[in-house]
């Protein structure tokens, strides 16, 4: 039996408390009114980001900066006399708009003229609209920070559950010795999904300036409103708060139920006379994997893709799956190594670690394959309604967007390709930390651009949320590990697993 070391317990509490403080600071620091935003923007005049400088510098030269960003210099030269008149109120939002317009309609010269003319006439309204836009982004910041960390840790436990089910369905002979570790990690699913569901309700009810999902605003689908958005209106058969919450509830309940039954049967097998509980788990795994692949796809549209309701991608579900699946396997490897180093898993040998590291390696490559397939197809055809997704990311999230490629692909590729390295604890732990950080950034890149836009920063709210959920995760997982012996006794493959050698 494992006993939760008091040091680790204290550590998890410290993380949770510091994290909660960080989350609190994030919410306190979020601006309440447009005036706050105006002040913030005026302060950032002296700031570091080029985007901010562009935003407020009232010079004709600015037109060129904007033109550069837009990469349609010629179009703008024609406009430049025009530009001088209105640059005083030229805003970042405006720049983004022109970017989109230019990308989308570069040949449609007259369109640009129209946009500018309109901007001139409604310059004051534009400024106010921009401030409101930034206000929403800044108010979203603590929510988005919380959301990324919350979904990331919950999906890690889902990834482990999927891995666990695959091991059962495939009747793998090497992994039963790790089943209790996996069960421990999946125990986070229950608290994780409860918090997550509350969060979704908070988004649906717009508690505390939560505007993460723009389509949840009833004004957006109201044809009478100025906020009316036809594209979202046409999708409202799917994108409705009631349907969204009901689907989320069904998915989470089934996942949790399956997890509960898996654990129950696994514990029953320890003292069973025959293999009946094992067979139940085998069948359950087969059912779960079918349900999982469907629900996973739906949840990726709902919980992640719908923050960008104008954008869609077919392989998005797979891409999200690869991201949290590799994170889940990495967490299995890291917790196994931790327990092994404390002397709790005597039957786990370097061959088990080698297998886990191979999965980390392989699924990292798989993730990259999907990332690249999605990126390259959209980049290559450059269809405006699809490509804006990557345009905003490359423009405002250059470092995280391409940095995660180094973290999630190049680093594991070079470090985990070596057979001997895959058996070394410190290599696997180091690669694991890099992979987990990389996939946090991956989720960050999926959520943030649509919710906080160019106002992103990995600061107190983000780190606080990450610490809080990490602390909770450690606490829940290691508490669950103390509840059952770490070697599943009755599993028919356990002897093979104990002597697994590669």
């Amino acid at each position: 039996m494992y006993t939760f070391s008091s040091k680790l317990k204290t550590f998890s509490f410290v993380l949770m408390i510091l994290g909660a403080i960080g989350i609190g600071i994030g919410f306190m620091a979020a601006p309440k009114t447009i005036e706050d935003v105006e002040k913030l923007l005026a302060d950032s005049h002296h700031g570091h980001e080029a985007a901010h400088v562009e935003k407020v510098a009232p010079h004709a030269a600015d037109a060129h900066v904007v033109a550069d960003t837009v990469k349609a210099a010629e179009t703008h030269v024609a406009d430049s006399t025009h530009a001088e008149a209105h640059v005083a109120v030229d805003t970042a939002a405006h720049a983004v708009d022109t970017t989109v317009a230019a990308v989308a309609e570069a040949p449609a010269h007259t369109d640009n003229h129209d946009t500018h003319a309109k901007a001139d006439a409604h310059s004051h309204d534009d400024h106010k609209a921009h401030l409101e836009h930034v206000l929403h982004q800044l108010q979203n910041k603590p929510w988005a920070a919380l959301y990324v960390a919350c979904i990331f840790f919950m999906l890690i436990s889902v990834g482990v559950l999927a891995f666990y089910a695959i091991q059962y369905a495939a009747q793998a002979g090497w992994s039963p010795i790790l089943f209790r570790v996996m069960e421990g990690i999946t125990s986070y699913l229950l608290p994780g999904s409860i918090i997550f569901f509350i969060f979704l309700v908070a988004a649906g009810m717009h508690w505390g300036h939560n505007h993460l999902f723009v389509w949840m605003d009833p004004e957006v689908v109201n044809p009478e409103s100025v906020k009316f958005d036809k594209l979202i209106f046409l999708k409202k058969g799917w994108l409705s708060v009631g349907r969204f919450l009901a689907t989320a509830a069904i998915i989470l309940v089934v996942w949790n139920f399956v997890r509960f039954k898996f654990r129950q049967n696994s514990l029953a097998q320890d003292s069973a006379e025959d293999n009946a509980p094992y067979k139940k788990n085998f069948k359950l795994a087969a059912f779960f994997l079918v349900f999982f692949i469907v629900s996973e796809s739906i949840m990726s549209w709902d919980w992640i893709m719908s923050v960008d309701p104008h954008w869609y991608s077919t392989l998005f579900g797979w891409y999200v799956f690869a991201s949290f699946f590799v994170s889940g396997i990495t967490v299995i490897a890291m917790i196994t190594l931790y327990l092994k180093s404390k002397g709790y898993l005597e039957h786990v040998n370097t061959s088990h670690i080698h297998d886990l590291a191979k999965f980390m390696f392989g699924i990292s490559i798989f993730w990259t394959y999907l990332w690249f397939s999605q990126f390259m197809l959209i980049w290559y055809s450059n269809i405006p309604e699809e490509v804006t997704y990557f345009v905003t990311r490359i423009e405002h999230y250059k470092l995280p967007f391409f940095g995660m490629l180094a973290l999630n692909f190049i680093f594991p590729l070079l470090i985990l390709i070596n057979t001997d390295f895959k058996r070394l604890t410190w290599i696997v732990v180091m690669a694991g930390i890099v992979i987990l950080f990389g996939h946090y950034i991956d989720f960050f890149n999926m959520i943030m651009p649509a919710t906080v836009g160019d106002q992103w920063f990995i600061g107190i709210p983000e780190i606080g949320a990450l610490m809080f959920f990490l602390g909770l995760f450690i606490f829940v997982v290691f508490t669950a590990l103390t509840k059952a012996p770490l070697v599943p006794k009755g599993n028919p493959f356990i002897e093979e697993s104990k002597h697994f050698h590669y």
Binding site: F372, F375, M376, W379, Y380, N382
Partner: protein
Amino acid sequence: MSNKVIHAIYNDDDVLMDAVKQTRAAHHHIEEIYTPFPVHGLDKAMGLAPTRLAICAFIYGLVGLSIYTALMNFVMINDWPQDIGGKPSFSYIDNMPAFVPIMFEGTVFFAAHLMVITFYMRSKLWPFKQAENPDVRTTDDHFLMEVGIHGNEEELVSFFTSTGAVEVKVVEKH
């Protein structure tokens, strides 16, 4: 010095493995072992050095990656940077996503083929190569261990008989 060798023939891989361990323990030098199929753990029991083919493959992969990168860079960017469907051929990185499939396949192509050719060369395999099996049964169901005779011949023969060999022959090797 005569070139005599002992051919100890076994008909079970477990017996062979035991025999190999005993032979190693008795410090007889194993020249070669012929088996009809791969025997798991035989190389470790014989004390053979691990293969470095994987390292070769990695290097060949890097060579392939470099060649295809250089090729695409020369052809598409330097030599004739045409505008093809609006793709940005200003620099390699601008248009890189379009080259990745080629870079990937080039890497795999070089890694795979050069590694296979390396394997053929290192294990001296080619068409019309004279087969080297000392006993035709070794391709079917018998295992043969070849040990050079450097001391008492009779002692060696009785040693191998005691290891469970179904047949022990002394053969003159040319």
